[in-house]
Amino acid sequence: MPNARELIKRFIESEGHKVDAAPPDDAGVSELLFRTRGQVFSVTTAEDDDAAFSISTAYEIPEWAREPTQNNEALERVHVEHPDVVFTLAHDGSLFVATLDERAQSSQELINGFWLLVSRLRDAGAQAIEDIVDRTESKVAAEKFINSFMMGGGQ
């Protein structure tokens, strides 16, 4: 009987996607990497717990929008709307990782809902990046207006 890692790998491949599989580390945790819709996703499984796995994907934050304190607040707000997705700022705030932890009753259940989970993660991640960019753009626009006003440009 194949383990969860092997089942998920076979499933993703059967759905048309190439999978890079890293061997399990010392703790028995292994990672599968695949691309879909231009985004790389990672599926992590543990050898001692076939029912649990997590899916992650990373989003690069545009250089001009890298404000860790504000971005953490934005990620917290999006987390409230998507409580099953955990966001983590990484690499000095240049990117964030969105992770969805899942516990399936069976391997079949896990596979049946797989693309739905990917979709939930993608929606949450897209909303987070949009929120970060929108907030930064609004702030820049407001600062431009205030600067212009302070320099006597206002009527």
Binding site: G16, H17, R37
Partner: protein, 137 residues
């Protein structure tokens, strides 16, 4: 002889997808899946500047063909790139992007976008069909 669909194979590699080839004396063909859904790319030997990317779906049983054509028409008016058509005595629906290119290398940088549009159009087609079928509140 240059393989006109080689750039499409490279685009599929960019997307991290497997593919198969099924060329014959009339056409070059690539078949692939993305998230489990099947797609194809065709280029004809006697019309090498034409390339078509598409996907075909069976209509659910009990769907009224007139309703389906109506949804397809509405999508054809609104969607960029994608043509939606009922096929095979109205039992299948076909979503295609048809392009005129000097080489399919021109398609490669836009392949992800075209796939997204095909995916979204199929999804909207079936969502609208369900909505049109739903009983009035």
């Amino acid at each position: 002889m240059i393989d006109p669909l080689r750039p499409i194979e490279l685009a599929l590699a960019d997307e991290g997808l497997f593919y198969t080839r099924d060329d014959d004396e009339d056409a070059y063909r690539v078949a692939f899946k993305s998230e489990g859904d099947r797609y194809f790319v065709v280029s004809y030997r006697d019309d090498p500047t034409f390339v078509m990317i598409g996907s075909g779906w069976a209509l659910p049983g009990g769907v009224d063909a007139i309703d389906a054509i109506d949804v397809a028409n509405r999508l054809n008016v609104r969607k960029k790139f994608v043509k939606t058509a009922l096929w095979e005595e109205e039992s299948d629906v076909l979503f295609t992007v048809e392009l005129c290119v000097n080489t399919t290398g021109e398609v490669r940088p836009h392949f992800g976008r075209l796939l997204n549009v095909l995916r979204d159009t199929a999804s909207e087609f079936f969502d609208q069909l369900r909505e049109d079928d739903a009983p009035p509140p």
